[in-house]
C-alpha cells in the first residue's frame, strides 16, 4: 500500500518539521511496517521536461533513433529506442546524474554521458516504469498535454513533490480500515496526537425515477447502493486526480474510471461505474448460473459457477461482484449516463471467485479484508461529489438507492484493564488507556475503576476488533512496545525432563561425525517417481504430494537412501571416497488417516572400485560401534528378512529386537541394479539404516564400571582351512562355548580366499585370549582349551593349519 503524505495532509495537520524517515519508523512501531519512504523530489533530481525537436535514424542500428531534444536553453543529442517518439512531443528526460531503472527492472542506475553504438547520447528519454511513473507500455511517456516549458524540472511539471510511504501489505491483513488514505489519516492523527478533519461531502441526490436494485444473494451482498448520473462527458482527468493516482501507482484511464480509483485510494472502498445505457431494466445481485459466461474488463472470458456472485441486469451478468466489471457494460468515450455501484460483498465469496478465476484486483484485495458496510455509503457520496465536479453538466437523476442486509447494531466489547496489564506486563494507567482508545475512535459506554465497556467503531468492527485481547493490542501498540520493560519469568526450581529421543539424536551425530568420521547432510523430504523406480521401491507405500513444485519432488520419502545416492553422485566429482549420513523422517501410507512417520539414520560408506574388502563389513562395523556407544542390548543379527529392494540380496543383514522381532537396523551393500540405475557401478557403497524411533525405545543403558583385570591373560592363535559356507559366526559360537568362564575374546584377524587355497575353502585365523578373574592360568588349562578349540573346528570340517 502506497500512502501519499500530501494526501494525508488534507485530513491531518502534520507538523511542518516532520521528518518523513523518522515518522516511517514510528508508524512501523505503532501500526504496520513501513518498507520504504520515497521522497519524490530526490528521486526526480536531474530530470526535466524535454521537447523532441528532430529525429534522425541511427547510422548503425535499425531500432535506435537519434534525437535533438530541447532540455532548457540547450538542445542535446539523445539516442532513443522507443518506437512512439515524434517530433514536437514533450517527454521526460533523465539527464546525466539522475537515477533510473532500466526497463523498470533491477536496481537504480546513475546515468552518465555515453556513446550508444558510436553515437553520443546526453541522457535518456524515459518510459514510465523507468522513473517510477505508471508504466507506459506504448514506449515513452507522452507529456505533451502538460504544455510545460522544456527544461522545467519533472517534479514541478508533474507535481511530484510528495513523500510516499510504502507499507507492507501483509501487515495490513487484519486492518480493513487501512486500505485507503482516510483510514491512514485517522491512524496517523492518533499516533501524532493531532486532530483529524471529519470526512464530509455535499451531494444532492435526485428524487426522480427510481433505479431498481434487487439483491437476491443477501448473505453474499450485505449492502448495495446505486445511483444513475446523466450528462457525463468522458475525458481525461484533471491534474489533481492524475497526480494522486500517479503517486499511488495507478494507471490512468478516463475521468470516470480515475474517479472510482481516486475514491478507492481515498477511502479504501472499491466502486464501479457501469454505462447505464448498457444496463437493461435494473440491477440484480445474484449467484451465477453454472456455465454462465462473462467477459471481464481485461478481455478475459470466464465460465462462471453457482459459487460466483455476479452483478446482473435483467438479461445478463454485467460484473463479477467485488472482483472486476464486465466488458459488456463498461464506460467508454461514448458514455453519457453512468450507474455507480457502491457495495459491500462477503469476503469469502469474493476471495474464492478471485482464486477460481485467478483475478487478483485492488477490489479483491480490499473486500477480502471484510470492509465496513458503512463505508460504501460514504464512498458513494464522495464519488458523486467528484463526478459532479468533473462534469459540470452532470446530474444525479435517481435517489440514493440503498439495499441493506446487514446488522447495524453497534458492536461492543468489555475490557478488564487488569487483564490487559497482566498480558502486556506493564502497569498502564486507566486514563492513558482511555485516551488511547478514544483517539482510535472507540466510545466509552461504561467506565469503572479498572474496566470499560466500549463501542467499537464500525471501521474496526468487521472481524478486526471483537474481543478483549484485540483491545489489549490497541492499548499495547499505542502505549508503545518500546515502553514495555523486559522481565525474565521465574525459572522453575526444577529443570524439565529431557526429550530422550532428541538427546539421543544429538549423541548419534557426535558418534557418527566425531567418532566415525562421517559427514552429515540434509535432503528434502521428497523425491521423484523415478527414484521409486530406480530403487525398486513399492509405490503404494508412498504419499504423493498433490501440488508438487517439480517432477523431482513428487513423493514423500519412505527411505533416506534415494536422495543420499544423488548426494553420492554429486560428491564423487570432488572426493574419491567419503562417508555421509542423514538423520530424518520417513513417511509411509499405512491406509490410516495420519501416515506413519519414523525417524531414521542412513549412513553410506563410499569407496572407489579398487578398494579391497567388502563394504558390508565397513557398514557393519560402523553401526555396531554406534550400538556399542549406546550400550544397546537385546539385538540379534540375522540375514536380512524384511523387504529391502535396494539391498544386495546376499550382502544384507538386519538387527532385530530379541523381544519382539522388530527390525531396528540393517546393513547392506547396494543392489547392483540400483547402483546401475544411479550410474554408480564404478563405486563401492556400504549402507546402514537405523530406525531411530525403535533404537531410542531401547534407551541408553547407564554405564557401570568393570574392575580392571588383576591377572595376566594367555593367548594363542589358530589358523584353520574351512569350507566357505561355514560362517565366521558359527565358528566363533563353537569356539566360545568351549569354556565361557575363561575365554575372554575371539578375534578374526585374517580371512583369505584365493591363490594357494583350494576352491570352495577359506583360510581363517583367530586370536583367542584367555583369562581368569581370580588367578593366573596354568599352562595345562590353556592347553586344554586349545585342544578343545581345535576339536570343535575340526568337527565343523576344518583343517587346522600351522599351530602357534
Amino acid at each position: 500500500m502506497k500512502v501519499s503524505l500530501n494526501w494525508i495532509k488534507q485530513f491531518v495537520d502534520i507538523p511542518a518539521d516532520l521528518n518523513a524517515e523518522e515518522f516511517g519508523k514510528l508508524f512501523t512501531l505503532r501500526t504496520a511496517e513501513v518498507e520504504g519512504v520515497h521522497d519524490q523530489a530526490e528521486s526526480y533530481a536531474n530530470m526535466v521536461i524535454g521537447k523532441i525537436e528532430k529525429i534522425a535514424p541511427h547510422p548503425d542500428a535499425d531500432k535506435l533513433q537519434v534525437t535533438q531534444t530541447k532540455v532548457g536553453k540547450d538542445t542535446v543529442q539523445i539516442v532513443c529506442g522507443a518506437p512512439n517518439i515524434k517530433e514536437g512531443m514533450l517527454v521526460p528526460v533523465a539527464l546525466p546524474g539522475s537515477k533510473v531503472r532500466w526497463h523498470g527492472e533491477g536496481d537504480l542506475i546513475e546515468l552518465k554521458e555515453t556513446k550508444i553504438r558510436g553515437v553520443e547520447s546526453f541522457g535518456m528519454i524515459c518510459a514510465g516504469e523507468e522513473i517510477g511513473l505508471p508504466a507506459s507500455p506504448e514506449g515513452i511517456v507522452d507529456l505533451s498535454s502538460s504544455k510545460a516549458e522544456p527544461g522545467t524540472p519533472l517534479s514541478d511539471a508533474l507535481n511530484l513533490n510528495d513523500v510516499i510511504l510504502d507499507i507492507d501489505n501483509k501487515a495490513l491483513t487484519h486492518r480493513p480500515d487501512l486500505w485507503g488514505h482516510y483510514g491512514h489519516a485517522r491512524e496517523i492523527a492518533a499516533i501524532l496526537d493531532t486532530p483529524l478533519t471529519p470526512f464530509t461531502t455535499d451531494v444532492k441526490y435526485g428524487s426522480g425515477k427510481d433505479l431498481s436494485i434487487e439483491v437476491q444473494a443477501k448473505k453474499e451482498c450485505p449492502r448495495y447502493l446505486g445511483v444513475i448520473i446523466e450528462g457525463i462527458k468522458v475525458q481525461d482527468s484533471p491534474e489533481w486526480i492524475q497526480e494522486k493516482l500517479r503517486s499511488t501507482d495507478h494507471s490512468l484511464f478516463n475521468n470516470i474510471v480515475d474517479a472510482t480509483n481516486y475514491v478507492l485510494e481515498e477511502l479504501g472502498q472499491p466502486l464501479h461505474a457501469f454505462d447505464a445505457d448498457k444496463i437493461e431494466e435494473g440491477i440484480v445481485v445474484r449467484m451465477a448460473e453454472n456455465g454462465e459466461k462473462l467477459a471481464t474488463l481485461d478481455g478475459q472470458e470466464h465460465e462462471l459457477s453457482q459459487e460466483d456472485l455476479v452483478i446482473a441486469d435483467h438479461k445478463k451478468a454485467v460484473a463479477l461482484a467485488g472482483v472486476m466489471g464486465g466488458d459488456n457494460s463498461k464506460v467508454d468515450e461514448k458514455t453519457t449516463r453512468i450507474l455507480i455501484e457502491a457495495a459491500n460483498f462477503d469476503p469469502t465469496t469474493v476471495r474464492r471467485t478471485s482464486v477460481r478465476h485467478t483475478l487478483r484486483t485492488d477490489a479483491v484485495q480490499r473486500f477480502e479484508k471484510s470492509l465496513d458496510p458503512v463505508l460504501a455509503e460514504q464512498a458513494l457520496d464522495r464519488i458523486c461529489e467528484i463526478i459532479l465536479e468533473l462534469c459540470p453538466n452532470a446530474k444525479i437523476i435517481t435517489q440514493k438507492v440503498d439495499v441493506k442486509n446487514f446488522d447495524e447494531t453497534p458492536k461492543t466489547v468489555k475490557v478488564d484493564l487488569n487483564k490487559v496489564r497482566s498480558q502486556i506486563g506493564a502497569n498502564i494507567p486507566a486514563e492513558q488507556a482511555e485516551d488511547i482508545l478514544l483517539k482510535l475512535g472507540f466510545q466509552i459506554l461504561k467506565k469503572d475503576k479498572d474496566s470499560f465497556e466500549l463501542q467499537i467503531p464500525t471501521w474496526r468492527a468487521t472481524k478486526d476488533v471483537e474481543i478483549e485481547e484485540d483491545i489489549t493490542e490497541e492499548i499495547a501498540r499505542m502505549f508503545g512496545y518500546e515502553n514495555v520493560t523486559p522481565i525474565l519469568p521465574k525459572t522453575p526450581t526444577k529443570l524439565p525432563t529431557e526429550n530422550t529421543e532428541r538427546k539421543l539424536k544429538h549423541r548419534a551425530r557426535e558418534i557418527l561425525s566425531k567418532g566415525l568420521g562421517m559427514n552429515e547432510v540434509y535432503n528434502y523430504s521428497f523425491y521423484s517417481a523415478k527414484d521409486i523406480q530406480k530403487c525398486m521401491l513399492p509405490e503404494e507405500l508412498h504419499i504423493k504430494v498433490e501440488n508438487y513444485l517439480s517432477e523431482n519432488q513428487t513423493h514423500m520419502r519412505v527411505s533416506l537412501l534415494p536422495n543420499l545416492l544423488h548426494n553420492v553422485a554429486l560428491n564423487l566429482k570432488n572426493y574419491p571416497e567419503f562417508y555421509l549420513y542423514e538423520i530424518g523422517r520417513t513417511y509411509e501410507d499405512l491406509q490410516e488417516y495420519f501416515p506413519k512417520e519414523e525417524k531414521k539414520i542412513c549412513g553410506l560408506i563410499v569407496r572407489g572400485k579398487k578398494h579391497k574388502g567388502d563394504l558390508f563389513y565397513e557398514a557393519k562395523g560402523a553401526v555396531e560401534e554406534l550400538f556399542s556407544f549406546f550400550q544397546t542390548q537385546g539385538l540379534e543379527l540375522r540375514k536380512g528378512e524384511t523387504l529391502c529392494s535396494y539391498a544386495h540380496p546376499n550382502r544384507f543383514a538386519g538387527y532385530y529386537s530379541k523381544k519382539d522381532g522388530t527390525e531396528v537396523a540393517r546393513v547392506f551393500e547396494l543392489h547392483p541394479l540400483v547402483a546401475k540405475n544411479y550410474n554408480l557401478e564404478g563405486v563401492k557403497i556400504g549402507v546402514f539404516e537405523v530406525n531411530f524411533t525403535e533404537l531410542a525405545k531401547l534407551g541408553e543403558r547407564t554405564r557401570k564400571h568393570k574392575p580392571l583385570a588383576k591377572f595376566p591373560s594367555s593367548e594363542f592363535d589358530v589358523s584353520v582351512l574351512m569350507d566357505e559356507e561355514v560362517t565366521i559366526g558359527e565358528m566363533e559360537k563353537q569356539m566360545s562355548s568351549v569354556d565361557k568362564n575363561i575365554i575372554e575374546s575371539i578375534t578374526l584377524f585374517d580371512l583369505y580366499q584365493g591363490d594357494n587355497i583350494p576352491e570352495g575353502k577359506k583360510s581363517c585365523a583367530f586370536k583367542i585370549v584367555l583369562r581368569a578373574p581370580d588367578r593366573t592360568l596354568k599352562e595345562e588349562e590353556v592347553k586344554k582349551v586349545q585342544e578343545e578349540v581345535f576339536a570343535r573346528l575340526h568337527k565343523l570340517g576344518g583343517e587346522i593349519r600351522g599351530l602357534k
Binding site: L29, R30, E33, K170, A171, L172, T173, H174, T348, R351, K369, Q423, I424, G425, A426, E469, T472, E473, Y481, V484, T485, P486, I487, L488, P489, T491, L495, P496, N499, R502, H506, R509, K514, L516, G517, M518, N519, E520, V521, Y522, S525, I543, K544, V545, E546, N547, Y548, L549, M556, L564, N567, L570, N571, Y575, F578, L580, Y587, Y593, F594, P595
Partner: protein, 346 residues
C-alpha cells in the same frame, strides 16, 4: 704402594681427560681397572703388607677405584651427549610437510545451531516437544484460528498430499509451521507449559537464495497464570544474548498472525553495527527475527485450556536464518545441497 696408587690415580685421571671417544674410555678402563689392569697388578703386592698398612691401603685403593669409575662415567656421559648434539645439529627436518590425516566428520551446521538453541531454552526451563510433519488441516490451520478462506492462508503456500479427506481434520498437508505442535502439546499436557519445538516445515514456493521449500522453525510456547509480553521480551533477549555471546536487545512492533492477539514482530539489534544502521539491517539498526504474540483465546480453547485462568505467548522463528547469520552463509539452498564441500567447513 701408596705412592704407586696415587700415581695410577693421576695417570688415569689425565688419560680420561684426554679421551675423545667412548672407545678410548673403554680402553682406559681396561688398562687401569681391568682384570689384568694396572690396579690389579699393584694390588697383587697387598698380601705382603702389614696389618697396619693393609688398613690404610685397602680403603685408599677402593676410593681411587671408585673415583676413576666416577670420572669414567661422567666423561662417557659428556662424550655421548656431545655425540647426540652433533647428530642433532646435522639433522634436517621439514616441519612444513603435512600431518598424517586423522579426519573427523562434521555435523551439519543446522544441527549444531539447533542443538545450541535447545540447550539454551532447556536452561530456561523449556522442554523439547515434537509433532508430525504431515499434519492435518485442522492442526495446521483451523485449530490455530485460521479458518478456510482466511487471507492468512495466502501467506503460507501449502503443500497438500494426495490423501483422503476427514471430517474433523480436513485434508493432510505438509505442515507449514511448527505451530500445530502447540495444540497437540496443550491437548496432551494441559497448562502450565514451557516448550520449544524445533522441526522441519514446508512451503510451496519457488526456491532462490533466500527461500527453500523445506526449512526449519523453532516454535516456543509458554503458558501459565500471569505470563506477559514483557516476559517474552525478557526470554528472547536472554536467548539471543546467550546464542550470539554478546548483549542483544529486542524490540516488538505490531504484527498480524491469526493465532496470537496481540501479535508482534520481534526484531533484534543488528549484530554487525550494534544498532547504528548498516547494509545488513537495511540501515534500520534492527534485524527482523520472528513473529510472536499472546496465544489467541481460540487457540487455547482448541488446546483445551481455559483462557480465563491461563495466558501465555508463542513464537516461531526460522532456524536457517540463524545458521546463515552465524556462519555468513549467503544461499539457503546450500543447506539442502548434500554437498560435502559445504558440510566440511563446520
Amino acid at each position: 704402594m701408596e705412592n704407586e696408587l696415587k700415581k695410577l690415580e693421576k695417570a688415569a685421571t689425565e688419560a680420561i681427560k684426554a679421551a675423545k671417544t667412548s672407545d678410548e674410555l673403554q680402553n682406559i678402563e681396561v688398562q687401569f681397572l681391568g682384570r689384568k689392569g694396572e690396579l690389579t697388578s699393584i694390588l697383587k703386592g697387598i698380601k705382603d703388607l702389614s696389618v697396619e698398612e693393609k688398613k690404610v691401603i685397602g680403603p685408599l685403593s677402593n676410593d681411587i677405584k671408585n673415583g676413576i669409575i666416577q670420572k669414567l662415567e661422567s666423561a662417557r656421559a659428556e662424550i655421548e651427549a656431545k655425540a647426540i648434539e652433533a647428530q642433532l645439529a646435522n639433522e634436517f627436518f621439514d616441519i612444513t610437510a603435512p600431518g598424517v590425516a586423522r579426519k573427523i566428520g562434521k555435523i551439519h551446521p543446522m544441527s549444531q545451531v539447533q542443538h545450541e538453541v535447545e540447550n539454551i531454552f532447556h536452561g530456561m526451563g523449556f522442554t523439547v516437544a515434537d509433532g508430525p510433519e504431515i499434519e492435518s488441516e485442522y492442526y495446521n490451520f483451523e485449530g490455530l484460528n485460521i479458518p478456510a478462506d482466511h487471507p492468512a492462508r495466502d501467506m503460507q503456500d501449502t503443500f497438500f498430499v494426495d490423501k483422503k479427506h476427514e471430517d474433523k481434520h480436513g485434508r493432510l498437508v505438509l505442515r507449514t509451521q511448527t505451530s500445530p505442535v502447540q495444540i497437540r502439546t496443550m491437548e496432551k499436557y494441559g497448562a502450565p507449559l514451557r516448550i520449544i519445538v524445533p522441526g522441519r516445515v514446508f512451503r510451496n514456493e519457488a526456491t532462490d537464495a533466500s527461500h527453500e521449500s523445506n526449512f526449519h522453525q523453532v516454535e516456543g510456547l509458554m503458558i501459565d497464570k500471569d505470563i506477559s509480553l514483557a516476559n517474552l521480551k525478557g526470554v528472547m533477549a536472554e536467548f539471543l544474548t546467550e546464542l550470539f555471546k554478546k548483549e542483544v536487545n529486542v524490540r516488538f512492533r505490531p504484527g498480524y498472525f491469526p493465532f496470537v492477539e496481540p501479535g508482534v514482530e520481534l526484531d533484534f539489534s543488528c549484530l554487525i553495527c550494534n544498532g547504528k544502521g548498516c547494509s545488513v539491517c537495511k540501515r534500520t539498526g534492527w534485524v527482523e527475527f520472528m513473529g510472536a504474540g499472546m496465544v489467541h483465546p481460540n487457540v487455547l480453547k482448541a488446546g483445551g485450556i481455559d483462557s480465563k485462568e491461563y495466558q501465555g505467548w508463542a513464537f516461531g522463528f526460522g532456524l536457517e536464518r540463524l545458521a546463515m547469520m552465524r556462519y555468513g552463509i549467503d544461499d539457503i539452498r546450500l543447506i539442502f545441497s548434500g554437498d560435502l564441500r559445504f558440510t566440511e567447513q563446520y
